[in-house]
Symmetry: C2
Subunit: 577 residues, 2 copies
């Protein structure tokens, strides 16, 4: 009775194949260190596609665009948004937006118009491709792909700023791509194009992008609000994180908004509240499952990409395909150069030449282009476009993806710092934030620090009260235990009358206000600020240095954190007593 | 663009509704303590069905049998199998099988034939229902439903044996139900029935049941074997547990074997090896997600049950429906009485009258019957059967489900013991096991202890070597730390020459054999037995009494275990030093 279970059975088998392929690569440790996993997976897909093609004598099934956009893409983007290091992202927001919006438009028109130029050469037999078709094609080929970028950049460990610039661009250019692609597609079907339509397109961009963000934030806040009430049924807490994120993506898609922007906004918005509300085990499950899901999705995407490449739906035209690859490289390089020139004029922290090269070189294309090209309306040259897209993707993933790591080594690009910031640094950063916010306020310049400060105020004044649970701050059980022991210790001290030492002992000061005799000390210090300092101190008290804000698809940050915490506490206690 | 995302959007919304309904119930603490959650959920479903019916003026969508059997049932059965307390299950295996096989056959024929008798009364206008149709109907209505039983029994906390008897029966009668249902269905379509077909049916039962178990064990062992190699990619470990279990279910379904038996066998088979192979965090995720998934599935099933009840696909016939309910109760009660009489003759631990009453009364029907009745081939009286099934389900879930808790209180049925067995008890149980195995071996009686001993031997000799990772026994990090500290302590003692106390200190003895001077002590004791004893001692050293083998859908066992472990260690150290 195979027909009855066919759908779930085949899905399960595909996922199983993907997981086994991953295990297989990791059994041979040398392979993944030379070739990026994405290349290996595409290769597996190519072989499988060849086998299917050989046996069936027809093209293997092509990756369904619906499956890609509805089921495979959301987990990856959710994972990316949830684990996005928010500070560097917001600090470089302007640059990222410039690259994502202006850069993408630049690429689309650059590539489209140049390809149209190529089409005018009679010897190439391409005169039937109109300017509009070329622009439609360039709108789908111009966008950098988040899946491909992530899978390569998480292995090369460049510095945080460089990483967030490429990664952020790949996420945020979705809105531009969606708008331009749909615009050109509707232009293709219109008899004449009026100026009004073009202006409507520009307006649409803002609606699509900001609308997506709005939808995402709405769902994120609702998710945070819902997790306030899950105290009695912990097991379904992780579910809400996934359900609301997915709903935000789908809702955005319903209204033709940017689903990627929505899910990223939802994940970033809900993260801090959800983390505070749900239990530690739920949170482990959320993080673990997100990683697992995105990892499997990514694997499936690359395998399908390989499988779909094999087949008879290609039309080969050397000049068009070669020039597509060349223009993709050239226009991206030019775009990065020009945009960075403007960025560097307004910033103290400039983007170096090496960084610019890596940004330009890291513009990988991936499965999004591939799915979009299959969604094109039927016309004579669709197969040529499919062939060109496939070549560009394979070229960027294989050639650029495999050479970027040696190049990073060769150019000695600044790497990510290995250790987490020390207590001193953290205090300094926080202090500078406050100071700069104050200076901006006084000078009347409403810069990022001013807005950040206002947002924090709004957050602690209204949002936290609405979204956070009241009596339940789920810290790590070990931290709670530590506090309990400290409090006990403090009580013993108080009983024996040794209270003179108290103010020097931060933990004691915070947790045992009832036994404090010197109430004035508290009144002079701002209590909230004190608690923040204590938190930072408590967090850094035990040399947890490996907890960096790194993004990696395959590992969870702070994996060994709690164990070390416990060990350090025990060993210190052991020594003290 | 709603059509494009309709399927995932509606699925997500249904799950969301189910989760929110659950949260809603738990906000009012009094409600779930009086009414079982299943009743509340069916009630919500009924209201929703009414709303849909009122607005659309047509019957709301009926729960699709495919969706139920392929997507909703497997998570619940997987969860049940994975968290099944294996010792009481195997100890009462004979009784469970008797209830599940003989009991179900008894019920099917009892109910079927009695209903046929009712049909002969001319005044009831039921003469057109043949004996075969009655038997077909009774084959689907006779089986106790695991989902309904679980959701009620996990709230009433009866003693372990009683729980496992009802629960085990509800899981294992699947094979009987499947065979009888398919047999009678094929008989209905045959022109004449030969004796050979009946015998083939009996043979089929063994194939379906044992085949399912075999498929499950195969996949379980493969899963365990696969997790040997996931050291480098921890994040996809949980995936394999789910993938292999689901594959075992689907594979069994392909060959018309019992999918429920397969997935239970798979879960029980792989559990101990997978647990030892995967990391602690992966295991938390596995457990958490299993609970989450089964909890959501269960919620959806009950809501759908409610929604599907409303509508126009019922044919009402008072006598048939009333007598169905009465016969279901009477034949189950008779069956339990007769079978228990035989069981009690061969056992020292008899099943008391109270227990028998609860077993008979706990025979709840649920969604499996409901899905099967919709799968019936079309014939005139199908709507009557649907109505009768609906009434039986609602009667058992509402009336029996709501009154069973007061009855358990009233009859003072022996409850589950709250505390885990003490060290002394554990040692005694283990000792008795060995002793009984020896006695059975000598007397030539190959009973359960003999086979258990042989199985353990086979397991440690072959299976563990094949399925377990070699150098990696992932214990709790705290236990590892404790061992480390103890070893350090022992070394200090050894350095100061206080080794006279050593043999009295079990931890020290095990972990630090190199510093022991008295080697003879070790040689006289069996080293493996010593390690087992040490393990039991170490596990019980810190009063973790709440870690019972209880099954509960909504909580994870040993939730606070590690925290307490840590606390106890710290506080003891604190006192000691």
């Amino acid at each position: 009775d195979y027909q009855h279970v066919q759908v779930p059975f085949e899905i399960t088998l595909w996922i199983m194949l993907a997981s086994l392929a991953k295990i297989g690569f990791h059994l041979y440790n040398k392979l993944p260190s030379v070739v990026p996993e994405s290349c290996l997976l595409i290769f597996v897909g190519l072989i499988m596609g060849g086998i299917i093609y050989g046996f069936n004598d027809k093209s293997p099934p092509v990756m369904d665009s619906d499956i890609f956009f509805l089921y495979l893409l959301p987990p990856i983007v959710l994972d990316a948004g949830y684990f996005m290091p928010s500070r560097p992202f917001f600090e470089n927001m302007g640059t990222i937006l410039l690259y994502a919006v202006v850069g993408t438009v630049w690429n689309v028109f650059g590539i489209g118009v140049s390809l149209y130029g190529i089409c005018q050469v009679k010897a190439f037999l391409l005169q039937d491709i109109s300017l509009l078709h070329n622009l439609l094609f360039s709108s789908l080929i111009a966008a950098v792909d988040p899946v491909a970028v992530l899978s390569v950049f998480e292995e090369i460990h460049v510095n945080e700023k460089l990483h967030i610039l490429v990664f952020g661009e790949s996420l945020l250019n979705d809105a531009v791509t969606v708008v331009l692609y749909k615009l050109f597609r509707s232009f293709c079907e219109m008899p004449t194009i009026k100026g009004v339509d073009v202006f409507a397109g520009v307006g649409k961009f803002f609606v699509v992008g900001l609308g997506g963000v709005l939808v995402g934030l709405t769902f994120g806040m609702t998710a945070a609000f819902t997790t306030r009430f899950t105290k009695d049924i912990r097991v379904i807490e992780p579910l809400f994180v996934f359900l609301y994120s997915y709903l935000s993506y789908l809702t955005a898609e319903i209204f033709h908004l940017s689903g990627i922007m929505a899910i990223v906004a939802c994940a970033m918005g809900m993260k801090r509240y959800v983390e505070a509300n749900i239990s530690l085990k739920s949170h482990t499950t959320v993080k673990y499952f997100m990683k697992m899901w995105s990892s499997v999705s990514e694997t499936l995407i690359f395998i399908f990409l390989g499988v779909s490449t094999i087949g008879e739906n290609h039309e080969w035209n050397w000049p068009y395909i070669c020039f597509t690859v060349i223009f993709c490289l050239v226009w991206r390089a030019l775009g990065v150069l020009v945009l960075t020139f403007f960025v560097n004029r307004f910033h103290v922290n400039t983007i170096t030449g090496k960084d610019q090269f890596i940004i330009a070189y890291g513009g990988l294309r991936g499965a999004i282009c591939f799915s979009l090209v299959f969604l094109l309306p039927e016309f004579r040259r669709k197969k040529l476009f499919i062939a060109a897209t496939t070549v560009v993707i394979l070229f960027t993933v294989f050639v650029q993806g495999m050479t970027i790591r040696p190049l990073v080594d060769l150019l000695a690009v600044k790497r990510k710092r290995e250790s987490a910031p020390t207590v001193g640094e953290q205090i300094h950063i926080r202090f500078l934030d406050h100071l700069l916010a104050g200076i901006e306020d006084i000078s009347g310049h409403w810069g990022q620090y001013y807005w950040k400060d206002k947002l924090e105020y709004f957050n602690s004044k209204y949002l936290q009260k609405l979204l956070l649970r009241e009596h339940n701050q789920p810290k790590s059980s070990i931290v709670l235990l530590y506090e309990k022991l400290e409090r006990k210790h403090a009580m013993e001290l108080a009983e024996t009358g040794q209270l003179g030492h108290v103010p020097a002992h931060p933990s004691f000061l915070g947790n045992d206000r009832t036994v404090l005799t010197d109430k004035n000390l508290e009144d002079t210090l701002n209590l909230d600020a004190l608690e923040h300092l204590q938190e930072i101190l408590a967090r850094n008290l035990y040399r947890i240095r490996r907890m960096g804000p790194a993004y990696n698809r395959h590992t969870l940050p702070g994996d060994s954190e709690h164990v070390e915490h416990a060990q350090e506490i025990l060993i210190l206690r052991h020594k003290n007593l």
